[in-house]
Symmetry: C2
Subunit: 343 residues, 2 copies
Amino acid sequence: MSDTVSVVDVARHAGVSLGTVSNVLNRPDRVAPATRGRVLAAIEELGFIRNEAARQLRAGRSRSIGLIVLDIRNPFFTDVAAGVEDSAAVAGLSVVLCNSRDEGGREDHYLSLLQQQRASGILITPTARPKSPLEGIRRRGMPLVLVDRAASRRQCSVSVDDVVGGGLAVAHLVALGHRRVSFVGGPLSTPQVAERLSGARSAAATGDIPLVLLETADLTFSAGRRAGEQIAGMSPGRRPSAVFCANDLLALGVLQEMTRHRIDVPGDVAIIGYDDIDFAGSAAVPLTSVRQPRESLGSAAADLLIDEVVDPDGHRHRRVVFEPELVVRSSTVRESTGRSNEL
Amino acid sequence: MSDTVSVVDVARHAGVSLGTVSNVLNRPDRVAPATRGRVLAAIEELGFIRNEAARQLRAGRSRSIGLIVLDIRNPFFTDVAAGVEDSAAVAGLSVVLCNSRDEGGREDHYLSLLQQQRASGILITPTARPKSPLEGIRRRGMPLVLVDRAASRRQCSVSVDDVVGGGLAVAHLVALGHRRVSFVGGPLSTPQVAERLSGARSAAATGDIPLVLLETADLTFSAGRRAGEQIAGMSPGRRPSAVFCANDLLALGVLQEMTRHRIDVPGDVAIIGYDDIDFAGSAAVPLTSVRQPRESLGSAAADLLIDEVVDPDGHRHRRVVFEPELVVRSSTVRESTGRSNEL
DNA sequence: ACGATCTTGTGAAACCTTTCACCCGGTTGG
DNA sequence: CCAACCGGGTGAAAGGTTTCACAAGATCGT
């Protein structure tokens, strides 16, 4: 195996100095066409492959950015990741996708890994915890952008206004005449959940109806099913007539339990989700949901990060806040059957 | 900014040689406890962070493996990825997740990227194309394992027997008395699809019924909805009484169109999917599906790869083939309502 | 015709870690 | 008492790329 062929080998083979090879690679215009051709030919013949590690070592930083998400199995985050990747690709950066599973320990691990790799920057939806290591990382000069979470002060962030989103959902239910509405979601320590709840509470107050809280352990299917089971177990008189879930995974879980118990959706119980993942519109009872611009979220975050990476001094921190949008489907209003909102 | 603190700085600060610092990091037992303490303290005080690039350069390879999947938004692949990550973590390797989107160009790009990064190895579900670059990469000595695709000869692979899976699905439908069965999936150039179809055909032949092929452009929701629309448009007499879809995404798409057109599932049309992603069991009409051991697929593949990485010479190539399993739910058999298969 | 300017190309230095041969003082076995 | 050994530590070399000051010719302006 001619395992390790380096620029030196290429240079020798092409009869030039190694500096010239590097120039061919990095500033082709500064090399005479004839020479360039010979070098390129040598590269081809020898099967030379640039050593990224050496480049990084020299450059002092890698050409990749980290993206740490809370749950890679939630389609919301894969969509965000897709947006991030699009923007990163334009800037010639690759994305290292990390799944913290909402565990501080794993988050720390990946954070440390990314620092060791001298990532150009980090995008993160952080887990909720008292003292975050993020502040320290920023102070060391690592560009950092918060995703799906508004930053407090001198920090970039891209988020969607969850208070407004929660308000939209419950206002919709109020407008439909619901008087017994439940909020399903948790844990409340998660800012996104807390804010959606807060928006929901305001809307409920405005509509002069109570809002019953049904807290869950996390934002997964299973949690939704457990909540759904609880709801199904209530007597029809006490049962909420509408449920607002903190995300679509929960909502789909609740929906399934309703169906299983032959509780009509939206007749007996209306359901609203949050995120508007693809599966929401495609559920057999298409789910009304609060849409977040998932991909834009990702690409906007990446753009902000890249801006700081490219020009750390000229960079001004910004907080981008998107507006959520209510997408009404059959799980709250009978007869979105005629046609669907999208293909 | 004390931006770049290296082992040399640590050594000076602790009053030892740089070799000793390295020993503390890599073979702590060879350093006297007192010295070790001082070095550790220096590391702490200076905020030293190992430079992964330099380590890689020295080692000649990186401590990460690449995983190239066809569609990161298909939960099947995120589950596989989760399995890969578990196994990789045990071996102290990190995973670089790449999404080829089933495009040769993107696949090439990531392949080249991983080679530049001197990845320890590559896991890939390749796109179907005449001359794959994979052979060349293997020849250069890069450990490579095929995922969800059986290898031809001297190559490791982990797959699930798709012919058997296709057979299971259609045999189930035949046993239920269906005589008009359609296969929805495509493109047929994709081996997984072709094999599932082949298994389905055998089972249909055994049951002495025809199998109508409805080819799709890809394996997404949208494709499923388009297929569903076609099916819904047929006169009840000509309409298939059962549909076997090449994956769950398609099946969910078909299911949605059936619901939209008020075609009863499974009464008028039974539907069977493939993969058994979480969303299958949790659809409002829970989907009968052919389960693939998604995470095991990933971790088995990673284990095989790691085996080759750790001991390239002692390594024997293996082809692991899992057996798929039929999971019956309400989309083919009324009354899986009483209780669900899993929480 | 001669200095100035351009165009090409050169090769050493720097980036940071790990490894390895080697050193030193002390202990042990014969 | 000497050789062998041992624990603990040293520092140079290697690994591949990029950059940068510099050199050698060629070209140009006057």
